[in-house]
Symmetry: C2
Subunit: 502 residues, 2 copies
């Protein structure tokens, strides 16, 4: 094949021929090859790249030019330009320069598998439409059940599209189980009760939104303070929950994190689960970031407390390195999911046999047309095995810890925590100048921006109780200590140049 074939059949009109050409298998293979070549070049490129900054209006003009093509370029030329533009403006997760956020350096075969998922759909909410993802859910769930010691119990797992949705789904399950008539009657009917959710002050914004979404009101969230490691402080949590309880708040759900988005902190899960039992509350853990530690013999112990959770979620698209969005939501007692969404649609939930019903997730997950993202995870597991994920995770956590130790040996760097995962926050402290707290914060921001604008590395910033810090997230296993050392030199140079303007 050496070209995209434009049909010359005069019987069908021009519009129809574009349509039939687009579905012509030879043309498709040709487009496939073109895209493959672009991606091969991308993956071969080992230069350090942070991010390519472009203003919205600049990018809009380029993209508009490609949308409303009037220059007579061929389909292939336009596709080439689009893919180039995509690659140039994307975050550089395939480079060792990108250390900004929890975006995965995706396992290539799981990314390629997306074209199977898309061209040959298996919509995953109902067994009839997506048998393989429903079966894959069960296989993956069983793997994790063993890590949790749940294998002989009545656990449950649904895969869903993102931790925001998983956290919401878990809280709805908790709420509907605690208040059996709330689904029909609404919150206003809970006359003397004030349903309340307790979360850590560092909870992800998708967690802190939930009370607003489900109509409990953000004011009915209890914020649990953190200890020095930015984990929920059990001592203070006990006092606060006790006081709230006495004030008539009905704490029906306690939500912990493992680990937190800001620094990767893992809350004291066992102790919090005991507090939940005390208040007859549901214990949910947002383990979007570190729940995947379960797959690693080295790291499992850090999240061992997940076994005490009534539910927890983990983002396979973060730390199991598959394309977004693939979130697993686990339930200690799978029967509780009967009350998650107690409505069924006649055209999808017919008189299924019992066997199939057990394999259906449609009445337990939020989505109707659900992408079978579980298959992106299952295919990697099947090809490379559990140890593959563990190896990559172990490397990331090890490099992060080494970076932490290394920064401690440097004069002008201060680490803000001992990393519990692959996230590290630190500051640059110039020793030759005494700076106010505000100026010191501003310096970190300016360093972040300068490093970003250089385009070699991209790191993020974070605000920890009004202290601005630099933040790296090691997602690419090819990042080495040489890269960390090089990054610190660039930070030092950037800082010195910024300090001259202070």
């Amino acid at each position: 094949m050496n070209n995209y074939k434009v049909s010359s059949n005069k019987i069908i009109n021009k519009n129809n021929s574009i349509l039939y050409d687009a579905f012509n298998p030879n043309n498709i293979s040709f487009l496939f090859e073109k895209i493959q070549q672009k991606l091969y070049k991308l993956l071969q490129d080992k230069t350090k790249k942070g991010i390519h900054c472009i203003t919205p209006h600049e990018l809009l003009n380029i993209a508009l030019h490609l949308t409303d093509h009037k220059s007579g370029e061929s389909i292939i030329e336009r596709l080439n330009q689009i893919v180039d533009l995509h690659i140039n403006t994307a975050i550089k997760v395939n480079s060792t320069g990108y250390m900004a956020r929890q975006f995965s350096s995706v396992i290539p075969v799981s990314a390629i598998y997306d074209v199977v998922n898309s061209l040959c759909p298996q919509p995953a909410s109902f067994y009839e439409c997506g048998p393989l993802p429903n079966v894959a859910d069960k296989i993956i769930a069983e793997k994790f059940a063993k890590f949790l010691g749940w294998e002989n119990s009545n656990y449950g797992m649904i895969s869903t599209s993102g931790a925001s949705l998983a956290n919401l789904t878990a809280v709805i399950t908790a709420r509907n189980n605690k208040y059996p008539n709330i689904w029909k009657k609404g919150n206003a009917d809970q006359k003397n009760l004030v349903p309340t959710i307790a979360i850590g002050t560092d909870a992800h914004f998708s967690v802190s939104r939930i009370a607003g979404i489900i109509g409990l009101g953000q004011d009915n969230i209890i914020l649990l303070p953190l200890n020095a490691q930015r984990q929920i402080c059990i001592k203070q949590a006990k006092q606060i929950l006790n006081k709230a309880h006495k004030n008539g708040k009905d704490i029906f759900c306690i939500i912990a994190a493992a680990g937190s988005t800001s620094i990767g902190a893992i809350d004291p899960l066992k102790e919090l689960s005991e507090l939940a039992i005390k208040y007859k509350a549901w214990f949910h853990v947002d383990a979007a970031h570190s729940g995947s530690f379960l797959v690693s013999d080295q790291l499992r112990n850090r999240v061992a407390g997940l076994t005490y959770a009534d539910s927890f979620c983990l983002d396979a698209h973060k730390t199991l390195f598959v394309p977004a969005a693939c979130t697993l939501l686990f339930y200690k007692n799978g029967d509780k999911t009967k009350h998650t969404f107690p409505i069924q649609a006649s055209y999808v939930t017919e008189e299924f046999e019992d066997e199939i019903t057990k394999f259906e997730s449609g009445t337990k997950n939020f989505e109707c047309t659900k992408r079978p993202s579980i298959l992106n995870l299952w295919v990697v597991w099947s090809l490379y095995g559990q140890q593959f994920f563990a190896t990559k995770l172990n490397l990331l956590v090890k490099t992060t810890f080494q970076a932490y130790k290394y920064l401690q040996t440097l004069d002008n760097f201060e680490t803000l925590h001992k990393p519990e995962s692959n996230i590290l926050c630190f500051r640059y402290l110039p020793n030759e100048k005494k700076l106010s707290k505000e100026k010191l914060n501003y310096l970190q921001l300016k360093i972040r921006d300068k490093i970003r604008d250089e385009g070699r590395y991209f790191i993020s910033k974070v605000d920890l109780d009004h202290i601005t810090a630099l933040r790296i997230v090691i997602m690419n296993h090819e990042i080495s200590m040489d890269d960390i050392a090089d990054l610190t030199k660039h930070i030092e140079t950037a800082a010195n140049s910024i300090l001259k303007t202070f």
Copy 2:
């Protein structure tokens, strides 16, 4: 390249070498080629295929064997087996035999583009991480604004992951705008008001779930009856809303459909929008299925009433033929989205310039890590133009209408509605036997199952006010009247064989 290279470097241990091999660009290209060959064969195959039935336990055994490979097969052999299993068990959207549901026969280039989205992520909620999808949102929004006559107004659009999420997001926006303190104080605080949503009795289950999810209670949904065309009946709606209003219900949102999942009916949008104005309610339209008619000069008029909606969503993964999930949620007044999710996370929404803020969707959509599915749509639009979508849509709607006319010429078939889109419901009525209502319903079910088990066609069934009907959804533009005629013959044969057992 003629093999997947297994690294023999003895310095790195076996686990590490599997990891590095998986990220080796040559190996990736090799896997890519293997998958391309499989998909080429799939798309070339023009045989009629309905669905391949397999029980969960049978499939589980096959899948488990692939997961826990102990037979020493190579990575490529296992990948081949996995892709084969995927293709065999998937719904046959690429065949002209599949007419069961609203799953798209996906435009190939948009499916292939998914590998770009996955290997080179542009997480779409925040401009910094995903500049191109945020810009593509604006371009696509502007196209639709012109179809709606909104181009000179302050409209807004967010892309999100599925209509279930879009419908929920729209209702939250409606609620938060109507009750300014509900986000903080919760529903229980709306002392004398009973916030109420009115929906059609044929509303999709994602719509009827919303009151339960957001804590209003399913009992505070008003169901609006349908007319003979299964559209919301305006006359009855007026009476019911009036009565509810007098009984102290505060109708803050009216939700219509365009078209309904069961038969593709389009509610009287203009008249419902006028009712909404009367009650100071928000008017949302779940146009997941037929909102895309806006792109077609022939079909636009059918959904012209969308211009009166405060918000509406459409599923590009249904009738714009891109991979799931790609839903567009439009707002007549974009400013209203300021109140959708009034919480921000410090680590994502920093001190952005005004220009970038305008291009950010993170505080307006539910997701945090959002797949840039808008690019799958934008790439097709850029390569083939608007007319491409219109051509495919026009063909589908035309074939459906021809099928309707054709069935009317047949003795033993009864159509249940004049199709407003690409969905047609009908029944087989044996003229030689008088059957009870129950037996007649049972016959349709049995026909559906028998046709399914033959494996040549796959059609669905639907329950319309206790009348069971057969249902076809024409999503593949290659389905011709010959296929429809052939299908009716198979139905006739199936029915005759089933009737012998009655």
